[in-house]
Every structure is written in structure tokens, then in C-alpha cells.
């Protein structure tokens, strides 16, 4: 205990990321604060030893590290409420954390803030097949929900590749997706209720087993709010009956343009596939080598198209997709003949990130979304950027919904490469915005894309968002330094800049 906290955000030999100024008063009161927190969360619930806090110093965006001020692991909603009330009163910052797989630094600790881990909230509370819902604590992993209901033929639809590890609380906070989003939606389309603890300690229940909000849609607002509005302590999700059959096709193309055009034609023909994923040559090779997925290696682009539903429908659609693929110059089509083969087709795609991790010392995963028809332009520009920065890039792409995951390969031991990778990444995201897309499709803004927000939003846009923050957390104690490039004080944001006395609009028609 009592080891002095590191005073600055230490970033792996990294250009400085500006984080909120450390609160010297808080730093000076560390012993007292730890004692108070222990009284609220007794037993093993408070961790303050440097060596034990190390595991929390970064999330899935490992380039950024910061030792937390203190780690608190509550077990009950009453404890969460008491801790937050205490933090509110004391002016202590709080960073919520699930499994720490965020790729945008959303769970990056603060040197003067409590890292609030929800790992002990790992119980499934209720499964209701008749109403088709499951109510779980936020620390339950994504996959555990499906595991709990699959015996009865049900599943939880959003399936991020990190699903073995990531928690449903983190999924809600990031509005996570997966490879089946086009047909089954993101987290936001698959949850029905939340229990939320505000920074004041107040507990609110939003939604439940019923549909739609009667007041403002807080469920929708909270989803994707990256831990800035409150701490989620319970989640009710919608569970679905598994489709009768699912078959996957892998289709090779001589160019990414052809693959992109094929995706457009499939959707244009009115076919909404269960999943539609694309990989470029570097990704195909890495994934196949890693997972022996049986991908063709002599193609420039590969599509995985999954069709699900009744057997008759799936067979019919496979035939139609084959025709469309032919018309778009496909060089190679394989259709899974059984479940193990379908799993094998997916295994390569689902392991794409670690597969790249094997061929490159480090990689940096980007997450922009673009209007799909812009794909050829974006890929061409990306090739130019790759040359400019001297770094390789592999692309995996949720092709159905336009969500790109360029994986920039670099070596952090080579001076300057991390910075180059970051600059390259930022250029890609700017490009996404330029062609009508967005900075992040499913990984969140976090600290990573925070300073790029003005590429997409004006100051007025961002002020409207920040006032939402003010409605929940006026003192800015929850996860500060994330999402917003500059934090304005709520009092300042509240001012209105209009003055009376103007003669109104002689031109506007009356009726």
C-alpha cells in the first residue's frame, strides 16, 4: 500500500496524450481515500498495491498505459452506489471497466481516479424464454449469455470477435457489433433494459422486458456512451431463436473492386445476408496461415457470405448469390457443406486480429465506417498512404454495413514507427469522414479518436453532446479525458447566446 502513484500518463515511448490535469489535492489524500473506500467495499474489494494494479494499467489499446490511483471491485449495486456517491462528494474521478478489451482506450485509467472494475458482477439473474429475454449482471461475458441459453436453441445476436472475454457492460458502453450486425443489429438494437447508477449514487432503471421507452430513450442514449454517463449494473437483453440452418460461402475475387461491387449487387437484389465479411490479400494470407481456414490464396479479395433461415430459403439464396458472384467476376466459390466447415470458414475471419499479430510485431486496429460504394476509392488511397508511411496494412471489412478494420502493421521497437502508425491511422479515419463515413463503427472514440472528433463534428455539434454529459455528470467525474477533445464546464455550456428585441422574420410565410 501507499506506494506513490505515477504522476504522469506514461505512454509506451509515445507522443504525449493530453489527459485531464492531475488533482494534487486528491493525490495528497490517497491514504485517507483508500481507507474510506475500504469501509465502503470491504474485504478484497480495494486494490492499492502498485504490483497488483499493473494488470489494469491499459486495455486493448496497449500503446497507452497509466497506473490507476486505486482499483475498486464492488460486488453489489449498493456498493457501486456508495462508491459513486463518495466520489461525487469527494470530487474523485471514476473510470468504469469491464474486461478491458476496448480498442479505443475507453478503460484507460487515470492517475488520480478510481478504476471501478465490474468483474465481480458475473451472475446471470434471469432467463425468460417466454418473453425471450435474459437479465444479467454487467460483468457477464458476451459469449456466456449465448452459452446460457443455447441449450434451448436460443442465442444473443451481437458477437464481437472478443466475445469470449468482453463483458456485456462493456458491449453496452461501446455499442459493440460483430459479424452479424447487418441482419441482427448492434448492441443497441438488442437490449431492452438497464440498471444504471449515476455519479450521485442514484439508481435508475431504464426499460425492462417491454419494448420502447415512453419518455426520452435513455436506453439508446446510454448505449455507446463509453462509461461517461453512469455505471451499468444490470442489463436485460433480447434473445433470439437460432435459425434453422446457416451456411457460409467463401467467394474469391481478382480485385477488391469486384468484391465490393458483388456486395452491392447482393443487397441490391434484396438479399440481407446473416453476415457479409470481406478480407484483402494480406488479411487472407495471415488468417489462413493462422487458422487453416481453407481460403483461396491466389485472390485479391475474399467475401464470406453467410445465409441463414429455413433450409429451402438458404438453398435458394445460395444459388442466387452464386449467380451474382459470377456476374461480378468471382474466381472461386465454395459453399460450406456442414457445420464444422461453416465454422472453419469463419475461424479465419474471427482470428484475423491475432493472425496479423503473428506476422507483425505490433498492429494497430482502425474502425472507420464508409458508405459502401466508396470502398474502391478508400482502398486505393489507403495503398498510397501505406507507401507514404512505409507501413503495411491488412484489411478486414464488415462489408455489409461498410465498417472497415484496417490493421496497420508496425514494430514498436523501431523508433518512430508507432507515431507513423498513429498518423497513418488518423489519415485513414479522416478519409472515412471525407467520403461520407464516420470515425468509429463499433470500437468507440475513447482516448484514441478523441482528438479527431472535430473532423466530423462542429463545436456546436459537440456542445450539444456535452450538454447530455452535463445532464448526468455535471462535475465531469465519470471517465473524463475520453470521447471529447475539450471539456467545457457545464455552467459555461448552459449559457444561451441570444438576445431579445429583434423584429421577427418578415419573410417567413404565415398561414
Amino acid at each position: 500500500m501507499n506506494s506513490a502513484p505515477e504522476q504522469a500518463v506514461s505512454l509506451d515511448q509515445h507522443s504525449a496524450l493530453e489527459m485531464p490535469e492531475l488533482d494534487v489535492d486528491i493525490l495528497g489524500r490517497r491514504n485517507e481515500i483508500i481507507r474510506d473506500l475500504r469501509a465502503l467495499v470491504p474485504g478484497e474489494g480495494v486494490i492499492s498495491e502498485t504490483s497488483e494494479m499493473r494488470v489494469y494499467e491499459s486495455d486493448g489499446l496497449t500503446a497507452y498505459r497509466q497506473l490507476p490511483f486505486v482499483v475498486v471491485l464492488p460486488e453489489t449495486v449498493e456498493q457501486v452506489s456508495a462508491v459513486l456517491r463518495y466520489c461525487h462528494k469527494t470530487g474523485l474521478k471514476v473510470v468504469p471497466r469491464g474486461a478491458g478489451t476496448s480498442l479505443s482506450g475507453g478503460a484507460l485509467p487515470l492517475g488520480d481516479g478510481v478504476l471501478l472494475g465490474l468483474a465481480k458482477f458475473n451472475r446471470i439473474l434471469d432467463i425468460d424464454y417466454a418473453n425471450r429475454t435474459a437479465t444479467v449482471q454487467p460483468g457477464v461475458t458476451n459469449l456466456a449469455i449465448t452459452k446460457a441459453v443455447e441449450g434451448r436453441g436460443f442465442y444473443y445476436a451481437p458477437d464481437p470477435s472478443s466475445q469470449i472475454a468482453c463483458t456485456i457492460g462493456g458491449n453496452v458502453a461501446e455499442n459493440s457489433g460483430g459479424v452479424h450486425c447487418l441482419k441482427y443489429g448492434l448492441t443497441t438494437n438488442n437490449i431492452l433494459g438497464l440498471q444504471l447508477v449515476l455519479i450521485t449514487g442514484e439508481i435508475i432503471n431504464i426499460g425492462g422486458k417491454h419494448l420502447d421507452s415512453d419518455g426520452y430513450d435513455l436506453l439508446g442514449l446510454l448505449t455507446g456512451s463509453e462509461g461517461l454517463l453512469g455505471v451499468i449494473t444490470e442489463v436485460t437483453v433480447r434473445i433470439l431463436r437460432e435459425p434453422e440452418t446457416a451456411r457460409a460461402m467463401i467467394i474469391g475475387f481478382p480485385s477488391s473492386e469486384d468484391a465490393g461491387a458483388c456486395v452491392g449487387s447482393i443487397i441490391g437484389a434484396g438479399i440481407i445476408a446473416g453476415g457479409m465479411e470481406m478480407m484483402d490479400r494480406p488479411a487472407i494470407h495471415a488468417a489462413d496461415e493462422f487458422a487453416q481456414a481453407g481460403y483461396p490464396l491466389d485472390v485479391e479479395a475474399l467475401l464470406i457470405v453467410e445465409l441463414d433461415g429455413p433450409e429451402a430459403e438458404v438453398t435458394d439464396l445460395i444459388g442466387r448469390v452464386e449467380e451474382i458472384a459470377d456476374a461480378n467476376n468471382a474466381s472461386n466459390v465454395q459453399v460450406s457443406q456442414n457445420e464444422p466447415e461453416r465454422q472453419k470458414f469463419w475461424a479465419g475471419r474471427k482470428a484475423a486480429f491475432p493472425a496479423i499479430g503473428r506476422i507483425s510485431p505490433d498492429y494497430y486496429c482502425m474502425d472507420g465506417t464508409i458508405p459502401r460504394h466508396q470502398l474502391p476509392k478508400v482502398l486505393a488511397r489507403m495503398r498510397e498512404l501505406s507507401e507514404k508511411y512505409g507501413l503495411g496494412v491488412a484489411n478486414v471489412f464488415h462489408a455489409g454495413d461498410g465498417n472497415l478494420h484496417p490493421l496497420i502493421m508496425y514494430d514498436s521497437n523501431v523508433p518512430g514507427e508507432l507515431e507513423a502508425a498513429e498518423d497513418f491511422g488518423a489519415d485513414i479515419l479522416r478519409l472515412c469522414v471525407e467520403v461520407g463515413g464516420v470515425l468509429t463503427g463499433e470500437h468507440g472514440v475513447g482516448v484514441e479518436k478523441r482528438d479527431l472528433m472535430p473532423e466530423m463534428f462542429s463545436e456546436t455539434d459537440l456542445d450539444h453532446q456535452q450538454r447530455v454529459k452535463c445532464a448526468f455528470d455535471a462535475d465531469g467525474l465519470l471517465n473524463p479525458g475520453k470521447v471529447f477533445p475539450t471539456l467545457h464546464r457545464c455552467a459555461e455550456l448552459g449559457r444561451i447566446h441570444i438576445h431579445g428585441g429583434k423584429i421577427p422574420f418578415p419573410d417567413i410565410p404565415r398561414f
Binding site: 449515476l198 431504464i206 439508446g220 435459425p243 440481407i272 466530423m456 455539434d461 444561451i496
Partner: protein, 402 residues
């Protein structure tokens, strides 16, 4: 009262600036079909935004459409239909329950109310299809949120909170929605003669099957409809392409046979039936009668109705597999249009009840939207402060002080 008809976003901005400066509360209307939904707004001026009309972008292969919010739903649907696409949440037109002619609902009004039809249970609500917006907030500022792509977590999802905010936070000036391929064939499996709870069990079984049900409604025997005269019916809809639809309808009929008499209705009849469910057409005749829209867990629907039947003279129709219950009181509902007993009946189950139709006097005195506890009401009020601190946009439409 000043009645203004802005032509574009710039006009909207000017109107709001004036309203803020002169503290003149505004009532915002578009098609005006749902003016009876919510508390009566006490406004100094009326802004009719139906002039902000027209589709500005439609890319069928990208499944996206951008339009100005005053665009009539009919125009949107016609354009989509030409490409075999639709708004999958099946927007409803409630005009007739207020005695108005149908057909003038606008996209903006649908989004502002988050109004979704029977397909809500499969395809999601209006809010799930709302991708991006431009708007003028009650601060007299233009802002945008979201985008034109489905996958987007860049900043807070302001589309969600504007959807269903009934014009109390901002005036929408441009909206982008996700569109989807339309099912080419519809079949409806009709199970007759079931009680409320047996029907709910049958609908739950259908929803829990892999037959991809896109509508599940129950019309008790005391509610008359034109298309069916055979007493109580549970109706289960499947949509999609030819062989798949036949297969799924047959599978459902087989599965539900033990529950009651089953028959399968063809596409044409099905369309008319589901339109009447969507628009709550069962309740268009007696417009003096209070009408409630109750959202509960599907299996709780019958219990709420049974409780109320024990206390009052009501008629009910179930949509969303039992999760959406329309409840019409006879004219003797009392001063509160039944609010007390409806909310008592809903409370043990969780969910909410909205008074959709009642005369102005009652609507002024009664909580139209479900009352919120102190913590939730605090958040609601602070959100309103953020967007509309002077309370000039549809003040009081949802809650007295919002």
C-alpha cells in the same frame, strides 16, 4: 396566435431565435395527425414544418435515405416501393383514431414519436432505423448528429434521444434513415377461438420458433373487424420470398394446431388486416372514449387486461405478441380516463402506459406519459435544459415542466 410556415432550416433557426429571445413557446406540428397525442401544448405561436419536404438522397444499394422531415410518409413509401424496399419498422398512421383522414403523416412526425407498427418485434422500432439528423435546438443553434451509415458509435447517439422526444428538444430539419428490402409475400396464420392467455402462449411459441415471425396480434371476440367475423383470432405473420414463406406458414400452422383452429390467409387479405392492426383501426369509431397504449412484457399483456376487465368496461387488442396492448375504455372512464387503474395494473409487471386519446380537459390534468420517479425525472428535466433551457419547444407536451 402567430402561425408560421418555415420553408427551410434557416427559417426554423430564425423562428427559434425569436421564440427564445421573446420567450414565446412554440408548438411544432408537421402533418398534424398526432396533435391529440400528448398533453396539450400551451404555445404563443405555431410552427408548421411540413414545408420542409422532399427526399434529398436515396441509394437503394446502400440501404439509406435522407429526407426533410416534412416529407409525407406516402411519398417516402412510394419511392421505396418502386425499388422493392420499405421502412422495416412499419410506421403507423394514427390519424383515424383522432377522426382525421389518413395519409398526411410525415417522416419527421413518425420519428419524433418513435411510432412503429407490428413488425417492431422483428425489425426493431423507428429509433433503430434512425441514422442521422440535422436539427435546430431550443438554444437557437443548428446541430447534427449520427451519419448515413448503420455502424456508428462516434459520440452520443443523439438520434435515439430525439426519436420519441415529441419535438420537445429540437426541430428536426433533415433525417437519414435505414431502409430495407420489402418482403414480397405475406402469409398470415390465423388461430381462432383462443382466450387472451392461450393466444399469448401461442404467440410466444411462434416468436420462440425459428419461423421468423414478423407480426403477432390477438383480436378478442368483442372487438369487431371487417376482415374476420369468426370471434377471437390470433394472427401470426410471416414475410419474405416465395418458398420460404409457404414453408414457414405451414410450419407455424402445424405447430399451433393443438391450440385451436388454424387457417392461412393470403397476401392481399393479410395486408389489409395488418394495416388495421398497425393503425389501431379497431378504435376509430368512438372518439369520445379514452384510448391507452400499454407496453409490457408480452406474457404480461393478458394479466393487465384481466385486471382492468374486473374494474371497468374496456375493449383490448394485442399487438407485438402481447407486448403492446391497446385499451379503450367505455365513456364512463372517470375524470382521469382510467389512468389510476391502468397504471396500477401495469405497475407489478414493469412497462408503461400512455393515454393516446382523451379530451383536452382530461389531457391537461392527467399524466399522459408514464410518470417517472424522482431520479429519472431529474435526468429528463436536465436533458431538456441542455437542448431547450427556455422551454420554448412543445413545452408540456410530454410532462408538465418539460
Amino acid at each position: 396566435m402567430e402561425k408560421l410556415k418555415p420553408r427551410d432550416e434557416a427559417d426554423c433557426l430564425e423562428i427559434v431565435k425569436w421564440a427564445v429571445a421573446d420567450k414565446k413557446p412554440l408548438e411544432i406540428v408537421s402533418g398534424g395527425t398526432k396533435r391529440g397525442y400528448g398533453r396539450p401544448v400551451e404555445a404563443a405561436a405555431l410552427a408548421d414544418v411540413s414545408g420542409l419536404s422532399g427526399i434529398s438522397l436515396y441509394e437503394p444499394e446502400e440501404l439509406v435515405m435522407t429526407a426533410r422531415p416534412g416529407t409525407p410518409l406516402a411519398e417516402i413509401e412510394k419511392t421505396l416501393h418502386a425499388n422493392n424496399q420499405e421502412l422495416a419498422f412499419e410506421p403507423a398512421d394514427y390519424s383515424k383514431i383522432y377522426g382525421k383522414r389518413g395519409g398526411s403523416a410525415t417522416l419527421g412526425g413518425i420519428l419524433a414519436g418513435n411510432i412503429s407498427g407490428p413488425r417492431r418485434i422483428k425489425a426493431g422500432a423507428a429509433r433503430d432505423h434512425f441514422l442521422g439528423l440535422r436539427a435546430v435546438s431550443g438554444r437557437g443553434e443548428i446541430f447534427k448528429a449520427g451519419g448515413r451509415v448503420v455502424k456508428n458509435v462516434t459520440g452520443y447517439d443523439l438520434c435515439k434521444i430525439l426519436c420519441g422526444s415529441w419535438g420537445t428538444l429540437a426541430i428536426l430539419t433533415e433525417v437519414t434513415v435505414k431502409v430495407l428490402p420489402a418482403g414480397q409475400r405475406i402469409l398470415t396464420v390465423i388461430v381462432s377461438g383462443l382466450s387472451d392467455s392461450d393466444a399469448t402462449n401461442a404467440m410466444a411459441a411462434a416468436m420462440g420458433s425459428s419461423f421468423e415471425v414478423s407480426g403477432a396480434a390477438y383480436i378478442p371476440a368483442d372487438v369487431s373487424i371487417k376482415s374476420a367475423t369468426d370471434g377471437a383470432i390470433a394472427a401470426i405473420r410471416v414475410e419474405g420470398t416465395g418458398p420460404s414463406v409457404s414453408y414457414r406458414a405451414a410450419g407455424l400452422a402445424e405447430m399451433l394446431k393443438p391450440a385451436g383452429d388454424c387457417r392461412i390467409e393470403k397476401t392481399g387479405d393479410s395486408r389489409a388486416f395488418w394495416r388495421s392492426v398497425r393503425d389501431a383501426e379497431f378504435f376509430t369509431e368512438h372518439r369520445d372514449r379514452p384510448l391507452w397504449r400499454v407496453s409490457v412484457a408480452p406474457m404480461s399483456g393478458p394479466d393487465v387486461v384481466a385486471t382492468l376487465r374486473g374494474q371497468a368496461d374496456i375493449r383490448a387488442v394485442y399487438d407485438w405478441a402481447g407486448g403492446l396492448v391497446w385499451i379503450e375504455f367505455s365513456s364512463e372512464a372517470g375524470d382521469d380516463a382510467g389512468a389510476g387503474i391502468v397504471r396500477d395494473a401495469v405497475r407489478p409487471h414493469g412497462g408503461h402506459a400512455t393515454l393516446v386519446r382523451a379530451d383536452d380537459g382530461v389531457r391537461r390534468k392527467t399524466d399522459i406519459f408514464h410518470p417517472q420517479d424522482a431520479a429519472l425525472a431529474g435526468v429528463t428535466s436536465r436533458l431538456k435544459d441542455g437542448f431547450d433551457p427556455e422551454r420554448i419547444l412543445n413545452p408540456g407536451r410530454m410532462y408538465r415542466t418539460v
